[in-house]
């Protein structure tokens, strides 16, 4: 957006709007997308404040406190009460107090504050889905660009790999990879990822969704490869790497940006599913999926342990999807990018 005001005439320079500015404006005017973004940012902020909340409420969400006694309205309430049902064996954790100061959502079966765990867990869920999104986009774009631009043998090999990954049911692949790396971690040459590391779910989720990105990118690159400006660059002898970087990548950038929120939504659901099956985030770490798993045993007595994190996932994913739709409409109204689910 260069301002070519060479003349001295006092003509108010009418700023031409670039495509990005126009897109930003369209996005800004999309009310539901902005509300969704606001809700999502609010959730992120709340999760970032997890340590602050834990300190303020005076709870340690990673320490089991089976014999703690709480003072609510001057009455002593044990966090774990003796079960009154059946034989009176076992303990039932405290239910929701609906008081932000202590055990707002109650305690889990180890007497830990569920709300505090949810905030900490949300941080992990958000981080894993964001990091996996970045990984998928980098790997998927690299594969899509290489396959589409170089063609020939490169394309054949990469496309066949993508075919296989595509036909492999996502959850089965993710679960297989998780289980294999669960106990021993991952060792590839000098790179060692300890078991229980958050990087494991990031890498696994990042890998399984590669075809979702690589296939559409490859298609776009194939079309761009035949476009006049690329042919011109090739015939001028511009090196391939430079064409990819300067001519092709900027043209697939909008697609990539649109993918970010939609992939994040998908990744969040996948992460939670893996964690729910206890092969994602490992204790003592938490994520929304692991808390739902914790709450499964308490489902009929203390349903909020499982309900609350599920609601958090649903709201976050929905916000991401709505924002993603808005982003797509703003950046590329004609595009047909749609993320399917297996």
């Amino acid at each position: 957006m260069s301002d070519t005001t060479l003349s001295t005439a006092p003509v108010p320079a009418r700023k031409g709007r670039g495509p990005w500015a126009r897109a930003a404006r369209r996005l800004w005017q999309n009310r539901s997308a902005m509300v969704a973004l606001g809700i999502f940012l609010l959730i992120v902020a709340a999760c970032l404040a997890a340590p602050l909340y834990a300190r303020w409420a005076g709870v340690d969400p990673f320490q089991s406190t089976l014999d703690a006694v709480l003072k609510i309205d001057g009455v002593d309430v044990p966090v774990m009460e003796q079960s009154t049902e059946g034989l009176g064996l076992g303990y039932t954790p405290l239910g929701p107090t609906w008081n932000l100061k202590h055990y707002f959502l109650g305690a889990d079966n180890q007497g830990r504050d569920v709300l505090a765990r949810m905030l900490y867990g949300g941080l992990n869920s958000l981080w894993i889905s964001a990091a996996a999104t970045v990984l998928t986009l980098i790997l998927g774009t690299a594969m899509g660009l290489a396959a589409g631009f170089f063609g020939g043998l490169t394309d054949t090999v990469l496309s066949r790999i993508l075919d296989v990954l595509w036909a492999f049911p996502i959850y089965l692949l993710a679960i297989s990879l998780s289980i294999v790396t669960l106990s021993e971690g991952l060792k590839i040459g000098p790179f060692v990822i300890e078991s229980g590391s958050l990087w494991l779910p990031v890498i696994i989720i990042g890998i399984v969704y590669i075809p979702y990105v690589a296939r559409p990118i490859r298609g776009q690159v194939l079309a761009l490869r035949q476009s006049e400006f690329v042919l011109a660059a090739i015939n001028l002898g511009v090196p391939g790497g430079r064409i990819l970087w300067r001519d092709i990548l900027p043209n697939v950038a909008t697609t990539l940006i649109v993918f970010v929120p939609l992939m994040m939504a998908l990744n969040m659901l996948t992460e939670s599913a893996l964690s729910f099956l206890s092969i994602g985030v490992q204790p003592p770490d938490a994520s929304w999926g692991t808390i739902i798993q914790d709450g499964q045993a308490l489902l009929y007595t203390r349903p909020w342990v499982a309900l609350a994190p599920g609601l958090a996932i649903a709201v976050s994913v929905m916000a991401l999807n709505v924002f993603g739709d808005g982003l797509r409409d703003a950046l590329d109204p004609r595009s047909k990018i749609r993320l399917g689910r297996d």
Binding site: I179, A306, R338
Partner: protein, 323 residues
């Protein structure tokens, strides 16, 4: 024509081969994942480890192990479990198929019917509050984790409202064979059907609406209008037909993947012993033969579903025939 079919067949076989190799490599060649160490237990001595390795044939070269396993699955069919020795894997998979098929077919009928209805209504009343409301509901369906929705359903139907008229008919979790107890089969599956379908109603309703709106801008719709056809006839007979192409593609892939074991989470939550649950249990105990068998079975379904989709394409869209 013959060449194209052969090519397609070759592609199918390649994808299945690729998947089998991938699964094999994941479990046998991932650095740090030694199947013998899994079977022998955490603190096994090197001698025990060696013995396990030998008796399970892990000391043979990888390609030999791969070929032997494939032979036992496809030719002799006598592959046995590593965990419960003597448990034949192929019959176990065959036993689990009816459960998964019951779950997925019922859910599929539900989601196809409802999502076509929703898609048509939303497209017909485009940009009104009906459209927006339906699409928001669809998005909500897509955004809920399916296993969590299953738990909520269980909470409502098995515990909280089980004693009211609303859910008193819901039997305890589990599966009843259709041939033995048709009524029990139906009743136990209603809640799982609804749960599984909700996610897909959202996806399909949105896809169909988008396709319908796109189709309504085509030339042949203008022609149909010019001929004086009624709006509903145009929507149902002309726009819907081409719009179903995207729908059918998606359906083939989803149905194949679900029958192949992607309904795993739903099966786990509702205690249905289907393919997904079988795979999940096998993965938990790292029962490699079972995993290989279920994954091969799954990939087979996905690949076959893909091929069927291609054929249905030709039936639905006359343009494909000439291409």
């Amino acid at each position: 024509m013959i060449y194209a079919i052969l090519r397609r067949l070759g592609q199918m076989l390649f994808v299945m081969f690729g998947i089998s190799v991938l699964v094999f490599l994941i479990f046998f060649a991932t650095p740090g994942a030694d199947p013998a160490a899994r079977i022998a237990g955490r603190n096994a001595s090197p001698e025990v480890l060696e013995a396990v390795r030998h008796s399970f044939g892990f000391d043979r070269p990888l390609p030999v192990q791969y070929v032997l396993m494939m032979k036992k699955i496809f030719i002799t069919g006598d592959l046995t479990s590593f965990v419960n020795r003597g448990w034949k894997v192929v019959p176990a998979v065959l036993d689990a198929i009816p459960v998964t098929l019951s779950l997925v077919t019922g859910a599929a009928i539900l989601w196809v019917v409802l999502s076509i209805f929703i898609g048509l209504v939303a497209a017909a009343w485009r940009d009104t509050w009906i459209d927006r409301g339906l699409m928001a509901l669809g998005l909500l369906g897509i955004s809920m984790p399916v296993y969590w929705l299953g738990e909520v359903m269980n909470l409502l139907s098995q515990s909280r409202y089980h004693d009211t008229w609303l859910f008193s008919w819901v039997p305890p979790l589990g599966y009843k064979a259709l041939s033995e107890d048709p009524k029990g089969w139906f009743l136990t599956l209603v809640i799982p059907w609804v749960t599984l379908a909700i996610l897909y109603i959202g996806i399909y309703g949105r896809v169909l609406r988008a396709a319908l709106i796109e189709a309504m801008q085509e030339d042949y719709i203008r022609t149909a209008r010019a001929k004086g056809l009624s709006e509903s006839r145009i929507l149902l007979r002309h726009a819907l037909r081409t719009s179903l192409i995207a729908f059918v593609t998606l359906f083939g892939l989803d149905f194949g993947a679900l029958v192949g074991g992607s309904a795993l989470l739903t099966e786990v939550v509702f205690g249905l012993q289907g393919i997904g649950k079988l795979t999940y249990d096998a993965l938990q105990s790292l029962d490699l033969p079972m995993i290989m068998a279920t994954v091969m079975y799954a990939s087979m379904f996905v690949v076959i579903a893909n091929a069927i989709v291609d054929m249905v394409y030709i039936l639905l869209d006359p343009r494909v025939k000439t291409a």
